[in-house]
C-alpha cells in the first residue's frame, strides 16, 4: 500500500508510563491519560493540537517558546501546556481570542528575525515554524526587518550530510537537547545570552571539527530549516515513505525510507520502532548512498578462470552455467565437494533458502554463515547454560538496570543507538563496569564515568570472569535461593568447588590478566549487590580461543547473582551485523536445522524431509574454516557465497586466498565486486536492503520487516536469485513472495510458529519465541524457568591461547570497529562516512611508540607469525602499553593478513582479538599490500572489459 509522505506524529512531550490515570477536560471534552502527562500531550492524544515550537515528544519539555500557552480554569495567567502536567478535574482551554493574540505576538517576534524565503527554502512545506505561523494566522510583522538581526549569519556546510544555517535558527534548543538527551554526546550548546544566543558546536567550531557524531538527532529535532539534510536541499521534500529496517548493525533500527519515486531522499528513524524509538546513527541515518553507487554491479557475469575477463550474461545463463558446473563437480568429486556461505546481512527468508538449497539441493550440510566468525560462541555458550542461543532481554530493559557490565564491546562505536540508550541510563545513576583492554568511550564520556574499568590483557577474559565469580562465592554474595530454585544443583556444586579454588582469586589472577585485584574485587561486589545487573558483551568476548568458555562464564555470573528472567538484568550479546541472530535462527550452521535443532535428530529431520520432499543427510557439514582446508586439499571445489566477503573478513588472509584460488567454481552474490568476488567465476548481482522484502532479527530476537522501497537494480532480489539457482539444480522452489517463505519457516520451527507477515504488520515487530504459548512474542526470556529447564553452571577452565607475546613479537594486537565504518566497509566506504575514517590506523601507546621511534602518522610495519602489513600510527593512551589496536574496514589495510587461524575450541570462531606482533617504522607498503593492489588493478581491468564489451553490444 502506498504510504504518502507526512511527518511522523508528534505529541509534544514524552509519553508517561504511570499506571495511575487522570481525567480532565480539554476544550470541553473529557480526556483520561496517565498521571505525569503534560497538558500538551493530553490534548494531542484527544485530537487537539496545541501550537508549539520548542516541544517535541522525543525530548523533555522545556517551556521556552511560549507558543503553547493555554488557559486553565482557576489558574492565573497562561501556563505553558508543555511544562504543565494534567491534574484530576482540570479544565483546559486551548483556544480563545486572548490566547490567539498572545501566540501571534510571540510568533511575530520569532519571524521578525527569520528570513522570509519560504518558497525557496529547502524545508518549504515541511517546516514547523511555517506551519505554526499558518496555524496562528500570522499576517504581518510589525517590527520590520531593519533592526539588528541574524539574517546574514554564516552557513556551516562542513558536515557531508547536513547544513547548519544559523540565519534560520529560532534558538529553541531542540538540537542541543537532542544531542544531550537522545544521543548523549553533548556536542552542542547555546553560546552567549539574550540576542547573542546561538547554537554552537563544541567551542564554536564547524560541525565537522566538533565532537558531533552526526547521528542526526539534532536534524530530526530542528523545527526549521536550520539543520537540514543536504539530500533534501538537493532533491526536495519526499512524496512517499516506506517503513523498513536498517541493514547495518545488530540494533536493528526501524526507519522511514523517504522517497521521491525510486530515489531515497532521506532515512528518518521511525519513532514507533521499538529497537531505536526514533533515534539513529551516522550509518543508518545518512550512509545509504552506497545503494546506488556507481560501483554497483547489476548484471550477472561469468568466466572460466579468474584470469579471464568477465562476460556479462542473462540471469538464465548465469544460473544454468553455475548449475552445470556444480553438477559436474559433484559428479567428479562427490556430493560433499560443494557448499555455501550465507550472510548475516541478508534477510531471514534469504538465508533460510540458502540452507534449504544446500540441504535439499546440494544433498549435504555444507552450509555456514558469517556468524561463524563473530557470535558462534554465543550460540554454543548460551545454548549450553540457558538452553537457547539468544540474548535474554529487550534493549529497553536497560532502563531498569542498576549496574551494567560492558565486556568486550564498544557500544558507542559499534552499536551506537543502543549506546545512547545505555548512556541515558548511566546519566540517571546506574553503575558501570567496563571490562576491555582499551579505554573505550564509556570509560569516560560527558557526564559518564565508569565505576570500574578492568583493562584486561587480551586473551584473558576467562581469567577475569572466573575471578569475578570467585569473589562473589567466596564473599557469600551469590543468590542462593535463586540458584536452588532455578539451576541444576549437582552441577552447581561441582562448579562451586572449581571456582572456589584459590587459583581463581583476583590476587592470583592479576599476574595473568593485568587487572588489579582490588579493582576486580570491587567490581564483583558491585555487580553482585547493586540490584538489577545487566551484562552486555560483544566480539571482544567471543573472538578468542576461549570464546565459548567466556560466554558460559558470563551466563554463570548472571545465574549466580539471580540476574536472569526479568527487566533490567540478563545476558545480552551485542550482535555485529543486522541479521546475525536471524541467520543463526534460520539453520545456517552446518550442524543444525532452523530453530537450533541438531541435524542428527530424526524427528526434526523427518519434519523437513516431509515439507521438502527429500531425504536429508544426518551428519554435520563443513564449517567455513573446514571448507578452506578442504579446498586446499582439493576436496572442496564449489562454493556459493551470498553477501559475505570472506577474503577480507576472515583471518589469515593468505590461507583464505589460497583456498579461494583452489576452488573450481566460486559463485559470489553481492552488490559490489568485493574482495572475494575477485576470485569468483560467477557473479550474481545482489540487491540492497532497499530493494527487497523480508525480515531481519536483531540482537533482542526482534523480527522486523524489511520492505522494498525500490525495484532490485538487477531485476532480482537475492531470494529470487537463490530460488533460480535451486530450481536449475533440480531443487524445486516456487515462492512468489518472501511471506510464503516465512510461512514455511513458521510451519517448521516451534519458536516461530506464531510469526507471519500479517502479525508483523499488526504488531510492528515480534520477539521470538512466538507461538501458541506466547502469541505476541517474548520480550524477556527465562522468566519462570530456563529454556533448558534448570540453568546449567558450565565449568570454565581457562586454557591460554597458543598465541603468546615473546621477544620477537612483544605486543598484542586486538581489533575492533569505528563508528563511521561498518565491517569490511563495502557499504560505508562508498559513502561520505569516509570523511571521518579514510584509512585504518594502528593505535599504539606513547611508551611503545617512543621505544620504537614511531611518531604520530608514521608508516608502521606490523609483523605477526603469519604475515605483515603496514598502517599509519595513531599514538594514544586509549590502549595500554603492550597492546596495539586497529580496525579492519579497508581491504588494503590487510588487518587479517596478520591475524592467525587460531580459533575458539568449541566453534572455530577465529581469534581476531589476540595476535602477537612487532611494530617498526617503515617507508613502503608490505609485499602483501603491493600484491593486493596489483591483483585489485588486474581484476578491476577484467571487470571494465566486460562492461566495455556490453556497451559495444
Amino acid at each position: 500500500m502506498l504510504e504518502f509522505y507526512e511527518p511522523q506524529a508528534d505529541y509534544g512531550t514524552p509519553e508517561s508510563t504511570s499506571t495511575e490515570l487522570v481525567t480532565l477536560s480539554i476544550d470541553g471534552v473529557e480526556v483520561t491519560v496517565p498521571a505525569g502527562t503534560s497538558v500538551m500531550r493530553a490534548a494531542a492524544e484527544s485530537g487537539v493540537k496545541v501550537p508549539r515550537l520548542c516541544a517535541t515528544d522525543q525530548l523533555k519539555s522545556f517551556g521556552s517558546c511560549r507558543v503553547c500557552l493555554v488557559e486553565i480554569e482557576g489558574r492565573r495567567g497562561f501556563p505553558a501546556s508543555c511544562t504543565t502536567n494534567v491534574e484530576a478535574g482540570m479544565e483546559v482551554r486551548t483556544q480563545s481570542d486572548e490566547i490567539a493574540k498572545l501566540r501571534r505576538n510571540v510568533m511575530e517576534l520569532y519571524i521578525s528575525d527569520h528570513p522570509l524565503d519560504c518558497l525557496t527554502c529547502p524545508t518549504n512545506g515541511d517546516c514547523e515554524l511555517q506551519d505554526t505561523a499558518g496555524e496562528l494566522g500570522l499576517r504581518s510583522v510589525r517590527y520590520g526587518f531593519e533592526g539588528e538581526n541574524h539574517l546574514q549569519a554564516e552557513k556551516d556546510e562542513s558536515n557531508p550530510y547536513f547544513t547548519f544555517d544559523a540565519s534560520k535558527c529560532i534558538v529553541c534548543s531542540r538540537c542541543v537537547r537532542a544531542c544531550e538527551e537522545v544521543q548523549g554526546t553533548f556536542a552542542l550548546t547555546i553560546d552567549g545570552r539574550g540576542f547573542e544566543s546561538k547554537v554552537s558546536a563544541s567551542q564554536a567550531e564547524d560541525f565537522m571539527d566538533s565532537e558531533c557524531v552526526s547521528c542526526g538527532a539534532c536534524v530530526n529535532a530542528c523545527p526549521t530549516a536550520t539543520l537540514t539534510e543536504k539530500s533534501i536541499i538537493e532533491a526536495g521534500k519526499p512524496e512517499h515513505a516506506v517503513t523498513t529496517t536498517c541493514a547495518y548493525c545488530g540494533v536493528g533500527c526501524s526507519f522511514k525510507a523517504e522517497m521521491k519515486g525510486n530515489q531515497v531522499v532521506r532515512m528518518t528513524p521511525y519513532k514507533d520502532g521499538k529497537a531505536n524509538e526514533g533515534h539513529a546513527c551516522v550509518k543508518g541515518r545518512f550512509a545509504f548512498g552506497y545503494a546506488t553507487h556507481k560501483d554497483r554491479i547489476t548484471v550477472p557475469m561469468i568466466r572460466d578462470s579468474i584470469d579471464d575477463p568477465w562476460k556479462e550474461v542473462s540471469w538464465e545463463e548465469a544460473v544454468s552455467y553455475t548449475a552445470k558446473r556444480f553438477k559436474a563437480i559433484q559428479a567428479e568429486y562427490g556430493r560433499t565437494s560443494i557448499g555455501a556461505i550465507s550472510s548475516s546481512r541478508c534477510t531471514n527468508e534469504e538465508v533460510y533458502l540458502v540452507q534449504k538449497m544446500v540441504r535439499a539441493g546440494f544433498g549435504n550440510n555444507n552450509v555456514d554463515t558469517c556468524a561463524r566468525v563473530c557470535h558462534s560462541p554465543t550460540g554454543f555458550g548460551l545454548k549450553t547454560t540457558l538452553g537457547e542461543s539468544a540474548g535474554t532481554q529487550t534493549f529497553a530493559s536497560v532502563a531498569d538496570a542498576d549496574v551494567v557490565v560492558v565486556m568486550g564491546a564498544n557500544p558507542t562505536e559499534a552499536h551506537p543507538v543502543f549506546g545512547s540508550r545505555l548512556k541515558r541510563r548511566l546519566r540517571e545513576g546506574a553503575k558501570l563496569i567496563v571490562i576491555d583492554p582499551r579505554k573505550i568511550e564509556l570509560v569516560s564520556a560527558p557526564h559518564i564515568k565508569a565505576d570500574h574499568h578492568l583493562p584486561v590483557r587480551p586473551g584473558t577474559n576467562v581469567v577475569v570472569l572466573n575471578a569475578l565469580a570467585h569473589v562473589i562465592v567466596s564473599e557469600g554474595l551469590e543468590d542462593r535461593a535463586y540458584i536452588e530454585q532455578r539451576c541444576d544443583m549437582p552441577e552447581f556444586e561441582q562448579w562451586l568447588a572449581f571456582i572456589k579454588d584459590e587459583r581463581h582469586s583476583p590476587e592470583n589472577t592479576e599476574q595473568f590478566s593485568g587487572v588489579p585485584a582490588a579493582d576486580l574485587r570491587a567490581a564483583a561486589r558491585l555487580y553482585a549487590t547493586a540490584g538489577n545487573g545487566a551484562i552486555f558483551y560483544g566480539l571482544g568476548v567471543t573472538e578468542h580461543s576461549q570464546g565459548s568458555t567466556a560466554v558460559m562464564g558470563i551466563a554463570n555470573l548472571a545465574m549466580l547473582t539471580g540476574n536472569i528472567g526479568r527487566d533490567g538484568v540478563g545476558v545480552n550479546p551485542l550482535r555485529g551485523q543486522n541479521n546475525v541472530q536471524g541467520s543463526c535462527d534460520m539453520g545456517s550452521f552446518p550442524h543444525e536445522l532452523p530453530g537450533y535443532r541438531h541435524i542428527s535428530d530424526g524427528a526434526t529431520r523427518a519434519l523437513f524431509e516431509g515439507e521438502w520432499g527429500v531425504s536429508l543427510d544426518s551428519e554435520p557439514g563443513l564449517r567455513i574454516p573446514n571448507m578452506f582446508d578442504a579446498a586446499i586439499e582439493g576436496e572442496f571445489k564449489g562454493l556459493y557465497c551470498q553477501g559475505e566477503d570472506i577474503a577480507q573478513s576472515d583471518p589469515n588472509t593468505q590461507h583464505v586466498e589460497a583456498a579461494l584460488r583452489a576452488i573450481d567454481c566460486l559463485v559470489v552474490q553481492d552488490i559490489f565486486l568485493n574482495e572475494t568476488a575477485k576470485f569468483a567465476h560467477v557473479f550474481l548481482p545482489g540487491a540492497s536492503f532497499l530493494e527487497k522484502d523480508g525480515t531481519f532479527t536483531n540482537a533482542e530476537r526482534r523480527i522486523s520487516r524489511v520492505r522494498k522501497a525500490m525495484p532490485p537494480l538487477s531485476g532480482k532480489a537475492d531470494w529470487e536469485g537463490t530460488m533460480a539457482l535451486a530450481n536449475a539444480l533440480g531443487c524445486e522452489m516456487n515462492y512468489s513472495h518472501p511471506s510464503e517463505i516465512m510461512d514455511e519457516i513458521a510451519r517448521l520451527t516451534p519458536t516461530f510458529n506464531g510469526v507471519s507477515y500479517a502479525k508483523l504488520e499488526q504488531q510492528g515487530s515480534i520477539q521470538w519465541p512466538c507461538n501458541d504459548n506466547t502469541p505476541e512474542g517474548t520480550p524477556i526470556m527465562h522468566i519462570d524457568e530456563f529454556v533448558r529447564g534448570k540453568g546449567f553452571f558450565a565449568m570454565t577452565e581457562y586454557v591460554p591461547t597458543e598465541e603468546r607475546a615473546n621477544r620477537k613479537f612483544p605486543l598484542l594486537l586486538t581489533t575492533g570497529r569505528i563508528l563511521s565504518q561498518y565491517n569490511v566497509g563495502a557499504q560505508t566506504r562508498r559513502t561520505d562516512n569516509s570523511s571521518w575514517h579514510g584509512e585504518d590506523l594502528i593505535e599504539i601507546h606513547p611508551h611503545d611508540a617512543e621505544e620504537r621511534g614511531i611518531n604520530q602518522g608514521d608508516w608502521v610495519g606490523i609483523n605477526s607469525r603469519v604475515g605483515d602489513t603496514v598502517l599509519r600510527a595513531n599514538i594514544t593512551e586509549r590502549v595500554k602499553p603492550g597492546v596495539v589496536y586497529t580496525t579492519f574496514h579497508h581491504p588494503v589495510s590487510g588487518a587479517n593478513v596478520i591475524t592467525t587461524d587460531n580459533s575458539d575450541w568449541a566453534t572455530n570462531c577465529p581469534e581476531y582479538k589476540v595476535t602477537a606482533v612487532q611494530l617498526s617504522k617503515v617507508t613502503a607498503p608490505s609485499n602483501w599490500q603491493s600484491r593486493q593492489q596489483s591483483f585489485d588493478k588486474q581484476q578491476q581491468g577484467l571487470l571494465q572489459k566486460a562492461q566495455l564489451q556490453e556497451a559495444r553490444n
Partner: protein, 80 residues
C-alpha cells in the same frame, strides 16, 4: 591428505579436550569430547582423525586418544 590438515584436526581435538578438562574424570571428559566431535565435525574430519589415530602417535593428548576410541565406538554403533 597434507600434514597440515591432520595437524589442524589434532590441534583442534587437543584444544577441545583441554578446555573440557575440568568437566570430570578423564573418562567423562573423553566421552564429552567424543560427543562434541560427533555433534559438530563433518564425517570426513571424524574419519580422518579416527583413521590416522589408529595405532599411530599423531600428537593427541591421552584424553584425546581416549576420545577417539569413544568416537570409533559411536561411529560403529551408528553403522550397525
Amino acid at each position: 591428505m597434507s600434514a597440515s590438515k591432520l595437524d589442524r584436526l589434532v590441534k583442534m581435538m587437543n584444544q577441545i579436550a583441554l578446555n573440557m578438562s575440568a568437566n570430570g574424570t578423564d573418562k567423562m571428559v573423553a566421552d564429552q569430547v567424543a560427543q562434541h566431535l560427533e555433534k559438530f565435525w563433518s564425517p570426513p574430519m571424524k574419519n580422518l582423525i579416527t583413521e590416522q589415530a589408529a595405532g599411530a602417535d599423531i600428537g593427541l593428548t591421552p584424553i584425546a586418544q581416549l576420545a577417539v576410541k569413544n568416537l570409533l565406538v559411536m561411529q560403529e554403533a551408528k553403522r550397525a
